[in-house]
Amino acid sequence: MLEILGLLAQGFVVVFEPQNLLLIIAGCTLGLFIGAMPGLGSVNGVAILLPLTFLVPPTGAIIFLAAIYYGAMYGGAISSIMLGIPGASTAVATTFDGRPLAKQGLADKALIGAAVASFVGGTISVVLFTFFAPPLAHVALVFGAPEEFALMMLAFATFVGLGGDDIFKTLFSITIGLVLSAIGFDIISGEPRLVLWDITGFLHGVNFLVLAIGIYGIGEMLWTVEEHALGGGKSMLSDATVTVARTISALKEILKTWKTSVMGSLLGYFVGILPAAGATPGSLMAYGIAKQISKEPEKFGNGALEGVVAPEAANNAASTGSMLPMLTLGIPGSPTTAILLGGMVIWGLEPGPRLFVDHSEFVWGLIASLYAANLFTVIINIAFIPVFIKVLKTPFTILAPVIFTLCLIGGYAPTQDMHDVWLMIVFGIVGYLMRKLDYPLAPAVLAIVLGPLAEPALRQSLIISDGSFMIFFERFYAGPIMIAALILLFLPLFKKVYDRH
C-alpha cells in the first residue's frame, strides 16, 4: 500500500511539471469539443493527434492523449443532452433521460449532473485502478468467449425494460439492429456477408455512428421540423438558463443521487476492464440497473436525473477500466485504447504484464495524469455549460441547418466514404417514418453495438463445446453471469403473469 502511494506520488511529480500540466489542460479542452461533435469521439481525437505526440516525450504524450480521452468522454454527454444525438456509442444511454430533461428546460441540470457523475465515475475508477490493477488483470485474462457471451446476454437483458409497450415492435427493433450489425464480414469464416444489393460500400458493414446519427440526428431533426411547423415557429429546444440559485438547487438534487453514481462507477469499471467489452455495455447496464432499483422507475425515459447520472458515471469509469487490459495484457478494451496501444508501440513501450515493472515511471505518470485530467475536465466542462446553454437559445431555423451540417460531416468522418452518408440519410428518413408509428429505436442502436461482440463469442463458445450450451453454465465466471442474465430477462415476464393471477 505504502509502496503504491510512493509510486503515485512520483507520478504526480511528473504530472505537475509545467509542460505536462499544460498538455492536460489543452487535451481536456480539445477532447471536450471533439466529444461534443456528433460523429467524432475520443477515437478520432486520439488517432489524429498521435503523430503530433512525437514532439514530446512518451510520458507527456500519453498524458496528453489520456486527457483528450477523458475530455471526449465528458463531451459525449453534451451532444446527447443538448441535441439528442449520441456522439459515441458510450453516450447512447445518456440520451434516454438527458434529452427529455433538456426538452423540459432543464438542460443545465442534466449537463451539471452528467459532469458531476463523470467526475465521480472517473475518480472511483482511478482509485480502484491505483490499488487493484494486478488482481483484476488476472480476471480479465481468464475471461474467455463463454464469459463474454454471458456478459452480452446480461447487457441484452437490460434492454427488456427499454422498449415501448408493443413487444413486437421492440423485438423488431432489437433484431434489425443485430442483423444490420452482421453486415459486411463474418470474422469466423472470413467471408463477406449480407452485402446488400451487392453494393461494395456494405463490405465494411454498417457503422454504429451511421445508424445513430441517422436516427437521432437526421430522423430526430425531421421530427423537430414537423413539431416546429405544427407549433407555429416556436423554438424546439429548451429555455434553460444558468443562474447561481438554479445551479445550487441542481447540485443538491445531484448529491442525492450519490448511490446511483457509485453503483454506476463500480459496474462501469468492472465491465470496462473486461477485454472487448468497453464502455457501452457498462453504461447500458448501469442505466438498466438504476431503473430496476429506483423507487420511481416510471420516471425513467421521461427525464429522471438518475437516468443521466448512472450511464455517465459508468462510461467514464469504464474508460479508465479499459486501460487496464491495454496496459497489462496488450488487449484494447475499446477502439480508443487500441490506438493508444499503437502509440505505445511507436514509443517503444511493450504493453504486457512487465510494463508495470519495466516502465513504472510511465505507468504511474499515466495514472496520476488520469486523476489530474479528471479534475481539470470537470472544471472546464462546468465552466462551459453557460456557453452551451446560450447556443441552445439560437433560433431553430439557424440551429437546425448547423446541426444537419454536423450530422452530414459526422456521418462521413468515421469511414470517409460517401456511401455511409447516403446510408445515414436513408436511416434518418426511415427512422422518422417509424418513429411516427411508435417503433422504439433505441434498442436497434444499442443492438448494433452489442451484436458484433455477442455473435463471435457465441460461435467461439459453441465450437469449443461442440455445440453444447452447457458451456455457458459450467464455467466459474460465465455461470453466475448467465444465470443473472436469465433472471433479469424473465423477471418482467414472471411479474406480468403473477400480476394477472
Binding site: V43, A47, L50, P51, F54, L141, V142, F143, G144, A145, G184, F185, I187, I188, S189, G190, E191, P192, V195, I199, T200, G201, L203, H204, G205, P275, A276, L329, G330, I331, P332, P335, T337, A338, I339, L341, G342, G343, V345, I346, G348, E350, P351, G352, P353, R354, L355, T415, Q416, M418, H419, W422, P456, Q460, I463, I464
Partner: protein, 328 residues
C-alpha cells in the same frame, strides 16, 4: 450512384494533374504529392498492420520526409476485400497507397467475383516479412519441444484448441500444416485479431497458437508463454532456443508480408517517388529499431523484384488454399 463517384474522381484527378502540370512548368522537377496521401490499411485499428502504418506515418511526419501528411484509413471489411475494391476504384490515382498482408493474395483467390488482379497494382516497397512461431502456455511444464507438443495434442484429440485469426487465414494454413505433418486433429477456433489470440493462450482458454512475435512478446517477456519452434529459414535472434521446423525435418517456411502498394495505374513518376520515400523510411533508425524489436525479417524489395515476389507468393498460396479445400 456509387459507381459514378469513382469515374468522377478520375476526372477530378485528371483536372488536378493537368492544372498542376500547367501551373508548374519546371522541367526535371521530380514529382511530389500535392494533397494529403490516403494510406489505406487492409486491417482494423489496433492490429499489427495498423500499428506498423501508424509508425510509418509518424516516421514520415517526424522526420519531415514528405511535403504532405499521410492519413491512415482503415478498411478491414471482408478480409481486405473492401480495401482491394477501394484501391481498384482508385485507378490512376497518385495519392492513394495501401499497406498489405498476405490477404492480398488469398482474398482475390477466394473471391474471384471481386475481379481483383494484384498484378495491376503498383509495387512500392516491401518493408518487412513477419514471422510465425508455435506457442504454448508456460505452465505446460510437460511441453518443451515440438515432439512433446505433438504427443500432448494427439492425446487430447479434437479437444486440443488452437486459437487463430479467422478461417482460411495465415494461422489456419499453419494449423493445417501441423495437423497434417504430425497426424493431429486440433480444433481451430477463430478470434478477431492476433492480440486477442495471444490473450486467449495466456488466459488458458486455448492450448496453443501460432502468433507473430509482436503479438506474444508481452506475455513471453513476462514468462507466461513460451515458443516451441519457428516457421522460418533460420532461428530468430530473439528466440534462440526455438528451433526451426526445417531443423526438425519438416520443410515448411511461412512469412507474412508487410508491404506498401500503390493504386493500379499510378504514374511512373509517382511510383518512383513513393519507392524513394519508403526506401528512406526503411533505412531510418526508427524502422530498423522496430524491425529488430519485433523480430521482423525480409529485406527491402521494390519495383519488378517486388512484383515477381507477389506472383510467386500468389501461386504458393493458390496451392495451399487448394490443399485446404478452401478453393477449387
Amino acid at each position: 450512384m456509387f459507381k459514378t463517384q469513382h469515374t468522377l474522381r478520375k476526372v477530378v484527378c485528371a483536372v488536378g494533374v493537368s492544372a498542376m502540370l500547367a501551373g508548374i512548368p519546371v522541367i526535371g522537377h521530380a514529382w511530389e504529392p500535392q494533397k494529403p496521401v490516403e494510406f489505406v490499411v487492409m486491417a482494423g485499428k489496433g492490429g499489427g498492420a495498423d500499428k506498423a502504418v501508424r509508425l510509418l506515418q509518424s516516421i514520415i511526419a517526424a522526420d519531415k520526409m514528405a511535403p504532405v501528411p499521410f492519413t491512415p484509413v482503415n478498411k478491414p471489411g471482408g478480409s481486405g476485400a473492401e480495401a482491394l475494391v477501394h484501391m481498384k476504384g482508385k485507378q490512376g490515382d497518385n495519392h492513394t497507397i495501401m499497406f498489405t498482408l498476405n490477404s492480398f493474395y488469398t482474398t482475390p483467390l477466394r473471391q474471384p467475383g471481386l475481379g481483383i488482379d494484384i498484378a495491376t497494382f503498383t509495387p512500392v516497397a516491401r518493408m518487412a516479412e513477419d514471422t510465425f512461431l508455435l506457442w504454448v502456455h508456460s505452465d505446460r511444464k510437460d511441453i518443451n519441444s515440438v515432439a512433446d507438443f505433438a504427443k500432448a495434442a494427439k492425446a487430447k484429440g479434437n479437444k486440443w484448441i488452437m486459437a487463430g485469426t479467422g478461417k482460411n487465414s495465415e494461422d489456419n494454413l499453419l494449423t493445417d500444416f501441423l495437423n497434417k505433418a504430425y497426424g493431429l486433429d486440433m480444433k481451430y477456433v477463430p478470434y478477431k485479431g492476433g492480440g486477442k489470440v495471444a490473450k486467449e493462450l495466456a488466459g488458458k482458454n486455448a492450448d496453443s497458437t501460432v502468433n507473430n512475435p509482436s503479438e506474444q512478446l508481452g506475455f513471453y517477456e513476462a514468462g507466461t508463454t513460451k515458443a516451441l519452434a519457428s516457421f522460418t529459414d533460420k532461428r530468430l535472434p530473439l528466440f534462440p532456443n526455438a528451433p526451426t521446423f526445417k531443423e526438425l525435418g519438416k520443410d515448411y517456411v511461412y512469412y507474412m508480408q508487410r508491404t506498401v502498394v500503390g493504386a493500379p495505374g499510378m504514374s511512373k513518376e509517382a511510383a518512383a517517388y513513393y519507392e524513394g520515400l519508403f526506401t528512406k523510411v526503411f533505412n531510418s533508425p526508427k524502422w530498423q529499431d522496430y524491425r529488430n524489436k519485433k523480430s521482423l525479417q525480409g529485406d527491402l524489395l521494390t519495383g519488378d523484384a517486388l512484383m515477381s515476389y507477389w506472383k510467386r507468393e500468389r501461386d504458393v498460396h493458390e496451392i495451399m488454399l487448394k490443399e485446404m479445400g478452401a478453393i477449387k
